[in-house]
């Protein structure tokens, strides 16, 4: 069984946020909800100042604190490591949100599902069909586009990235590209001190 994971190549990321747009489109995400974001930061000291870009996403942690603290079992990990939320079990207590060190979960508030992205307070036909996959008051997060992955495709953000800064694959396969990149370029996990063992790595 594959163990899916992702590598972010920080040298390649140009901060275009095409990944965030593709994700919103693929998952019909409501207003104010993002499963992935590319953050920016200015670092350095004048005159040597530069801007860096940091893509973020659910890290599908091996020891996921969100799964551990969930009081209903709504958050669970699939055998391939993808951490999911069962919307029929979620009670919207938010415990998983405060337990996730990466702030990658969102509770769907009623106004998010009422107002469309295009103003006027009305939903487009695309939004109407897309929002049926959500339940108000429950928590949502990135699923590595599990339907695409199950069909043998890459997650939407990976397929869209114009610079191939996002590399997705089986971390258990020594021949897979993400695994090789992690080994060759000493990939590091976000906030390793939180002991969650993320399946997302950064290389620079």
């Amino acid at each position: 069984m594959a163990k899916w994971g992702m590598v972010f190549d920080l040298r390649r990321c140009i901060g275009c946020n095409a990944c965030a747009v593709a994700c919103k489109q693929e998952n019909s995400l409501p207003d104010g909800v993002f499963f992935t974001k590319t953050l920016s930061e200015e670092v350095g000291e004048f005159p040597q100042v530069t801007r860096t870009y940091v893509p973020t996403i659910c890290n599908h942690c091996e020891d996921a604190p969100c799964e551990r603290v969930c009081p209903t079992g709504a958050t669970y990990a699939r055998p391939d490591g993808i951490v999911m939320v069962d919307r029929d079990k979620c009670i919207g207590c938010g415990t998983c949100i405060v337990a996730c060190p990466y702030d990658q979960r969102t509770r769907l508030e009623p106004e998010m599902l009422r107002q469309g992205l295009f103003g006027g307070g009305r939903l487009t036909p695309f939004e109407e069909q897309g929002l049926t996959r959500f339940t108000v008051g429950t928590v949502v997060k990135c699923t590595f586009c599990h339907e695409r992955v199950d069909a043998g495709l890459q997650p939407a953000c990976v397929a869209t990235c114009p610079t191939e800064a996002r590399i997705f694959g089986d971390l258990d396969d020594p021949a897979s590209r993400p695994r090789q990149l992690i080994q060759e370029r000493r990939g590091r996990q976000p906030l390793p001190e939180k002991n969650t063992n993320p399946r997302v790595f950064y290389i620079d």
Partner: protein
């Protein structure tokens, strides 16, 4: 000039510390009533003080459970939270509330009408007291368990919960039971409870300061949280309400107060105001570390 993070990103597309917004006023109110009600019941049961036990039960049943129901996104599915007692402190807390309300109510009826045989009566009292104790501490564990938020995860949160719960219990017992025989006829008991309250206030103050100290040196987010509480936007509430009114002024007032109902009421009011502010501000100032940042490397 150094360009660095260390700023509050607050949901934007910037690297920085993010404030948590998942737990807010409803949860703070639920936590407030949970620790105040359970503390009142806990202290009252030692004196078989029926009014205190009854009010404590009602505070937990309506205040705490009501606050949680208002907070939930799907309140009708709330019963599902009982299903993961092995791993989740929220599940454990809900189980404790259910057991406490049942056993506590039975114990109140038993104390009032003597309906149970001696052995069963003792068992019910013990179960009520044990579940009450769990409610007094579990909220601290639920917060402390979240390693994501440095302000909460230092390990002192359960101690703060227990201290506040006992303090609330002692003060509310002094107010509600002021004219009851167990206090009115025993001035030594009143004095003992007053000394206990002052000791708990001092202990609570040191616990809260230690909690801030630990968070301040724990991580960037912890430093930002403490800065918000002591110097930033929340300082105008945290310092005067939580630290001064909640501990210092109420302890000094209790030390000099004559054994008078109005004074007891004033001290309880001051302390409970500080405690509610503590609960609200702990949620508001809780923050996440940036997942990854390069500013630190540049700076050092």
């Amino acid at each position: 000039m150094i360009a660095s993070n260390g700023r509050i990103a607050d949901g934007g597309f910037r690297v920085g510390v993010g404030l948590q917004k998942a737990w807010g006023l409803h949860m703070a109110t639920a936590f407030f009533f949970g620790e105040a009600g359970a503390g009142l019941y806990f202290v009252s049961q030692f004196f078989d003080f029926l009014l205190g036990m009854g009010v404590g039960l009602l505070m937990v049943l309506f205040g705490k459970a009501g606050g949680h129901l208002l907070h939930l996104g799907q309140p009708l599915r709330g019963w599902r939270a009982l299903t993961k007692v092995r791993t989740s402190w929220v599940s454990r807390g809900l189980a404790a509330i259910v057991v406490f309300v049942a056993a506590g109510a039975l114990h109140v009826v038993d104390v009032d009408a003597d309906v149970l045989p001696a052995a069963a009566s003792q068992l019910v009292a013990a179960v009520a007291l044990l579940s009450c104790f769990v409610i007094m501490v579990y909220q601290g564990f639920a917060m402390s368990h979240s390693s994501a938020i440095t302000l909460w995860s230092g390990g002192l949160m359960p101690i703060a919960s227990l201290t506040y719960a006992l303090l609330n219990g002692v003060l509310l017992t002094l107010v509600l039971g002021f004219d009851a025989p167990f206090l009115a006829d025993h001035p030594d008991t009143v004095r003992l409870l007053q000394v206990a309250a002052v000791a708990l206030m001092l202990y609570g103050l040191v616990t809260v300061l230690s909690l801030l100290h630990g968070a301040r040196h724990g991580s960037e987010a912890g430093r930002q949280s403490v800065s918000l509480l002591l110097h930033g936007g929340f300082a105008r509430w945290f310092v005067p309400l939580v630290l001064l009114l909640g501990f210092v002024v109420s302890a000094l007032t209790m030390l000099v107060a004559p054994p008078d109902f109005a004074w007891m009421l004033a001290v309880a009011g001051l302390e409970l105001t500080g405690y509610y502010a503590f609960r609200v501000l702990m949620f508001k100032a809780g923050s996440y570390d940036p997942a990854i940042s390069f500013a630190y490397r540049f700076r050092h």
